[in-house]
Amino acid sequence: MTFTLVQVIVGGLLLGAVYALFSSGLTLVWGMMNVVNFAHGDFVMLGMYVAFVVYTLLGGGPLIGAPLATLLLATLGVIVYFGLIRDIMKGPMLAQILGTFGLALLLRYSVFWWFGANFLSLPENLVGGTFDIFGIRIQASRLLAGVVALLVTFGLHLLLTRTTLGSRMLAVAEDATAAQLMGIRPDGMQAIAWAIAAGATGLAGALIATFFYIVPTVGETLGIVAFVTVSLGGFGSVPGALVAGLLIGVIESLSGYLIGAVYKDIVVYALFLGFLWFRPQGLMGKT
């Protein structure tokens, strides 16, 4: 019993690290330019399909799939920024919501059209087998995904807080006009933010694909997970997203284990609403 419980919690933490990774992309864009990307979950979905295609065409694992997905999605992020976001950012709220929602439908159903609605998956033994650590069984694929996601999310935090690039991005987030007067191009910084955010989703998607089901509509669920994570961690905070992501991974696994798999999403959504309604600044946000 205790071992199983510990195993469930560890599994939740590893999954939660991946949640944290793609949610930090959402929170970055959100905090920096006050744009909510409703297609965020579908970006993760695209990352999963990149990993799937890499496997079926080249037989390659996440070692090839993950960097490729990161690169492709980062490119997509820049294209989306210049093609859509830059213009709707200044428009009315309806245009922003419509724009990213339309993008979500476009991506989701293009994949649906091409690959069909079938549930796909990568072979279980693509990444090692199963480890036995102190009696706790952990799949190598989950371990790899969790550890890489954790490191990259932490790296993202360091990038934002410890480098010149990070300071420039924060300056643009604070006041784009003032930043421009200081010689920082807001356009360039925001495009970089989109590249980072989308790249993070690509990486997360490729990592999660090694053990998750792959289906065109998976982005809907993952998108909501990202919203929950961001609202819990505070809008715009990467460390907040990290803590919240881990927490949600654990809560999801525990409620799935204790009260049944069908109820785990209900718990997550209820938690989300509870936070939006009663503590919109998140767990660690300022009042």
Partner: protein, 331 residues
């Protein structure tokens, strides 16, 4: 005067449509356009006029659909009896979730409404009484006319038309009443409206409840014409998105905007589905997505706003100044 004339011509065309286009496919298509026009017009009250972009209106749609089918399946009552029950249920839900949700602004409101809708879908999917994942349907053999299961789409067409006219009438009455002025003020700037003494929270809540009730009627009508409801067709997030997109494509915040949007998108979807078959389902939404992105990027006011602007330009050839004035009057 001129406007009334145009309206009468449009009304005559809509009334005459199923008498001119008599194939079952065409009549059914007409009925579906009217059905979605009702739902989108109901959404327009809170999404267009009040500027609160709800992406969870399917909750109210589902209340109506499940009330109608529940009355039919569980109590062998006419689905018509379900309509008032659905309205009451939807308005109650709106009153309960409206309080905390309408306090959220912008994206946060939209996201909260998505979460409510998904929560409702998950709960219904796990509720045996409501048919769980299979859904509810009526008895296979209709017994009398009140079962509302007609083979021809013609009775549905005129029923839907009557309800659409009522919905638009209520909307028009609302916009020209005190509440409409409050809503416009809130949409422009909630803070300014509040500081001038407009009861913003209460007005938004009333609009939300009104919109919820009307949306539930659309849901009940949907259940009648299709004869069944399941979590995907009654509470799926795509229904919310469709409703929202039709209103936005036609022109959110304009009386006839949602109707114009429905008249464009419903035929597009039905025709592409029937031409492409099963493969078309995906492609239809690809086209949907592309259209939405293009509207958001180039014409966020919707098609009707564009037409109004061109019309004003052609009529008077006025200066730049009066064009923008005209446009702001129209919206």
């Amino acid at each position: 005067m001129r406007r009334t004339l145009w309206l009468l011509i449009a009304l005559a065309l809509v009334v005459a449509y199923p008498l001119v286009f008599t194939t079952p496919f065409q009549q059914r298509l007409g009925a579906l356009v009217l059905l979605y026009a009702i739902a989108a017009s109901a959404w327009n009250i809170v999404g267009g006029y009040a500027g609160q972009i709800s992406v969870g209106h399917v909750v109210f749609f589902g209340s109506g659909a499940y009330a109608a089918m529940g009355a039919y399946a569980h109590f062998a009552l006419s689905p018509l009896i379900g309509i008032p029950a659905g309205i009451v249920f939807a308005v109650l839900i709106a009153a309960v979730i409206g309080g905390p949700t309408l306090r959220l602004s912008g994206h946060y409101f939209s996201m909260a409404t998505i979460a409510v809708a998904e929560l409702a879908r998950l709960i219904v999917t796990n509720t045996e009484y409501l048919g769980a994942a299979v859904g509810l349907s009526g008895p296979t053999v209709p017994r009398n006319v009140f079962d509302m299961s007609f083979i021809s789409a013609l009775p549905y067409y005129y029923l839907f038309l009557a309800i659409l006219i009522i919905t638009l009438g209520i909307t028009w009455w609302m916009t020209s009443s005190r509440m409409g002025f409050y809503l416009r003020a809130i949409k422009d700037s909630e803070r300014a409206a509040r500081s001038l003494g407009a009861p913003a929270s209460r007005t938004k809540l009333y609009a939300y409840m009104l919109s919820a009730g009307l949306t539930s009627v659309a849901g009940a009508l949907y259940a009648m014409i299709f004869g069944f409801v399941d979590p995907e067709s009654g509470l799926g997030i795509l229904i919310s998105v469709k409703i929202l997109i039709m209103a936005a494509l036609g022109g959110a915040g304009l009386l006839f905007g949602p109707f114009v949007g429905a008249a464009i998108l419903v035929p597009l979807e039905e025709i592409s589905n029937s031409l492409l078959g099963g493969k078309g389902a995906g492609l239809t939404f690809v086209v949907y997505g592309a259209i939405i992105v293009l509207i958001a990027r180039f014409q966020p006011g919707g098609i009707l706003a564009l037409i109004n602007r061109l019309w004003a330009k052609r009529r008077a050839k006025p200066t730049e100044e009066s064009i923008s004035k005209e446009a702001s009057h129209a919206s």
